[in-house]
Subunit: 182 residues, 2 copies
DNA sequence: AACCTATTTAAATACCCATTTAAATACCGT
DNA sequence: ACGGTATTTAAATGGGTATTTAAATAGGTT
């Protein structure tokens, strides 16, 4: 079984009401808010190490967490700090994981050129002079894998950890079946 | 009967004599006059919300009004302000509506691809990757309709409100006859 | 050599800008 | 004589702006 490491969890939720980002920018130390550059306010926490984006609509996006637990902790902390500044918000609703980025290792070097040819041009994109990784799209679970010559890989687009597991199992089986791994 | 909303009326007239745009630019607060960029002086009114263009020849173009009434009000206001600055002009002659832009809604989603095929290539232009709307030209009244998948539409080129009404009735009848609406 | 930067992928969020159409006006450049 | 330049306005769509993260390359900078 391949060891999978979750590298980044992106999740969204809502604070339930419109936010005065200008006021929040002043209340949260270190907050970055440059509306003409980007409409969201960016606020980073050192623990869990995350970057939370707050929007005028009250919608929130949390990035950088390593688990759903960290996402919850981060959003709670941010909400608490906003409330501490006297800004009213509603107890946040459900948190939805929008994307999970994970890494793994197939355990052996692989020949990307050979894989690009046998795995079919429809789901494979490989332009080494543009990017060293081979892009492989899987329909179920709907994720994208970036395969590298070292055997290491990146999985993105997953909604839950099991999707990553399924994807890695799938590519492993396919490569072995084609004699391109081990 | 489809609800039609007039979004913009463009009209022209003349103040009767040559104008010293440089002097008017100084007299009208907020006026924009950059002759090397555009020969006309641009002057905006907040009420009615319009943009009036004044030319050296004394010709005037008013844009942004929602009705002929607003056009008249806007031009009168501008003329008054110019006279108040001690600049002599003649009581403005007839105002001619040059273009009316209006929007409406067919009430149901429509299939632009199907419409592009059945309505004939001669009067239809549809390049979704360039612009999401389908361009449909009508000869009488001579207007152009922009049809969108949502069923909403834009009519431009009309000279009077009745032209818009006639155009919407026409496209509605044609689409229904072809079984492309409702 | 040790750093940065960029490259690619996904996702939510939400702003701006361009796209297209018509019309009058007028001035410059090809 | 056209084709920009500028003004207004709706419709809906795409792209760029910013955030995070791993992988492995190239290129540039101290």
């Amino acid at each position: 079984m391949a060891v999978i490491r979750i590298e980044n969890v992106v999740a969204s939720t809502s604070l339930g009401r419109e936010l005065d980002l200008q006021a929040i920018a002043l209340a949260l130390d270190g907050a970055e808010y440059e509306p003409k550059q980007f409409p969201g306010l960016i606020y980073r926490l050192k623990e869990p190490k995350t970057a939370t984006l707050l929007f005028r609509s009250g919608k929130v996006v949390c990035t950088g967490a390593k688990s759903l637990e960290q996402v919850k902790t981060a959003i709670s902390k941010v909400a608490k700090q906003i409330e501490a500044a006297g800004i009213v918000i509603k107890g946040e609703p459900k948190i939805e994981v929008q994307n999970i980025v994970a890494s793994s290792d197939l355990g052996a070097k692989i020949n990307l050129n050979a894989i690009a040819i046998s795995l079919g041009l429809e789901k494979v994109e490989y332009e080494p002079e543009q990017f060293p990784g081979l892009v492989y799209r899987i329909d179920v679970p709907k994720v994208v894998l970036l395969l590298f010559g070292s055997g290491k890989l990146v999985c993105t687009g997953a909604r839950k950890p099991e999707d990553v597991e399924a994807a890695v199992d799938k590519i492993t089986a396919e490569l072995k079946a084609a004699g391109l791994l081990k």
